[in-house]
Amino acid sequence: MLELIEQFNVLNAFWVTIKLAFFSAILALILGTIMAIFRLSPVGVLQRFGAAYVTIFRNTPLTLIILLCSLGLWGQLGFEPASRDSDTFIVDLNFRLAIIGLAVYHAAFVCEAIRSGVNTIPLGQAEASRSLGLGFLQGLREIILPQAFRGAITPLGNVLIALIKNTTVAVAIGVTEAAYALRNMMEFRPDVFLLNFLVIAIGFVILTLPTGLFISWASQKWVVRR
């Protein structure tokens, strides 16, 4: 088993998976929060923009989004977030394009999770913030969003777990993460097929199970007691 892990660089592959998940999670959280603010805002155009964003990206398969990042964003729009001079240009580029695809897709789910968090806040909180004279953004920043995030820990955590697993789709544009490693292993070492699968599968269990435990602990600890 160790020999298998060494031969196919499984640890490296999982390191790529972790990096993909980490960066796209941060990006998705930022983008999703912005979309949630749009949807909550008093400006009709922004509300509709947020709603359209969620509808479009939640209903498109991730495979397609990631492919379009490579074929459209890079190929057509010429967006090239890596240096052509670098020896690892393609590797860096695909890695970053995959992060963008993952972030854009999961931001739609983050947006919905935050909205569900907002729904856990009693009406009185928003009314109190208005009666104190806080404006929309002030109220959002001081009163609503802090409580919304705490109320949305479980759905946000579920998005994070889904995101960790969805990094596998980056294989569609050739990012050498865990699914890529498994494909190579199945191709070149079919004799130990079950071991191949278990090595990769257990890797994901190791990544997601503690995340899940942490989330349920965190949602208990930071729940807003009312």
Binding site: P42, T55, T60, L64, L67, M186
Partner: protein, 300 residues
């Protein structure tokens, strides 16, 4: 009414002016982005008639999109039916009174919720390709179904179990009081109630499955995305072919999500009319590692 409607006051004249400016800025930004995309596509020759004219040719639809759509639907339908059956079995096993049975099923469910669908598809596909027990041209199909069912049965099993747990305790007690065994109580009283109230969640799960069939692209199952790629190859319009496929997916899934909302509202109305019954959809499982069905969770 929720907090969302009371986050801001009714705007006064100054606020109205400010909102107008924001709205105009938003529209300008959007037009700018779309304009840039359109301009770059034009520059790169993606907006020419020959790239888009195939879409008004009926052959494009009868040869590529419709067969692809049917294969997508077929895989999704089979996967969802099998997932429900196995999900029911997994939920039963996990609620069993026999400890070892319970442990085995718990481990099974947690394991398969933690492993990505694509990993299971790739494994099944390559395993079958290296073994002789199935005809090769079935491998992509079986791979897609196996991946979807292994994962979604575990998720649906959890949805059912959570539904059972969120039922009022009196239901179980009443069952035991009339002399039913604990397992009979579950089968005859608890699970049927959980099943009816999880209908909306199941419809959302169909969307998840439908999107996940697109992973079949990676193991060459001839679903919508694969067919779009073939069209792109034949007509030299890869990007337009994918864009049309994306629009198709969005329309189908949007329709389904509206259906899920409709079912949910109808059920809520019914529940409010009858007795106060906890809605399964509010029960979010917190323990364990996986994502729940209805939450974004299950993405692909």
């Amino acid at each position: 009414m929720s907090a969302q409607q009371v986050l801001f006051d009714a705007p006064g004249p100054k606020a109205v002016a400010r909102y107008r400016i924001l709205a105009a800025a938003g529209i300008a930004l959007l037009i700018g982005i779309l304009g840039f995309i359109g301009f770059r596509m034009y520059q790169k020759g993606q907006l020419t008639a020959e790239k888009w004219s195939p879409f008004i040719d009926p052959n494009t639809w009868t040869n590529y999109y419709i067969p692809g759509f049917l294969d997508t639907i077929q895989a999704a339908a089979i996967a969802i039916v099998m997932s429900m059956i196995f999900g029911l079995m997994l939920a039963m096993g996990r609620m069993s009174d026999i400890k070892p049975v319970k442990w085995i099923f718990t481990a099974w469910v947690e394991f398969f919720r933690a492993v990505p669908v694509l990993i299971m598809m790739i494994f099944t596909f390559y395993y079958l390709s290296n073994s002789d027990w199935s005809p090769d041209n079935w491998n992509p199909f079986i791979g897609v179904i196996a991946g979807l069912v292994l994962y979604n049965s575990a998720v649906i099993g959890e949805i059912i179990r959570n539904g059972v747990q969120s039922l009022p305790n009196g239901q179980r007690e009443a069952g035991l009081a009339v002399g039913l065994s604990p397992s009979k109580t579950r089968r005859l009283i608890l699970v049927p109630q959980a099943l009816t109230s999880m209908l909306p969640t199941l419809v959302s799960q169909v969307i998840v499955v439908l999107k996940d069939t697109a992973l079949g692209y990676i193991i060459l199952y001839p679903e919508l995305l694969t067919r779009a790629r073939q069209l792109g190859s034949a007509e030299a319009n890869v990007l337009p072919a994918y864009i049309v496929a994306a629009v198709l997916f969005i329309v189908i899934n949007y329709g389904l999500s509206r259906l899920a909302e409709y079912v949910e509202n109808r059920q809520r109305a019914k529940n409010e009319g009858a007795a106060k019954k906890p809605n399964v959809n509010t029960a979010v499982p917190t323990e364990g590692g996986g994502a729940t069905g209805q939450v974004p969770g299950t993405v692909g």
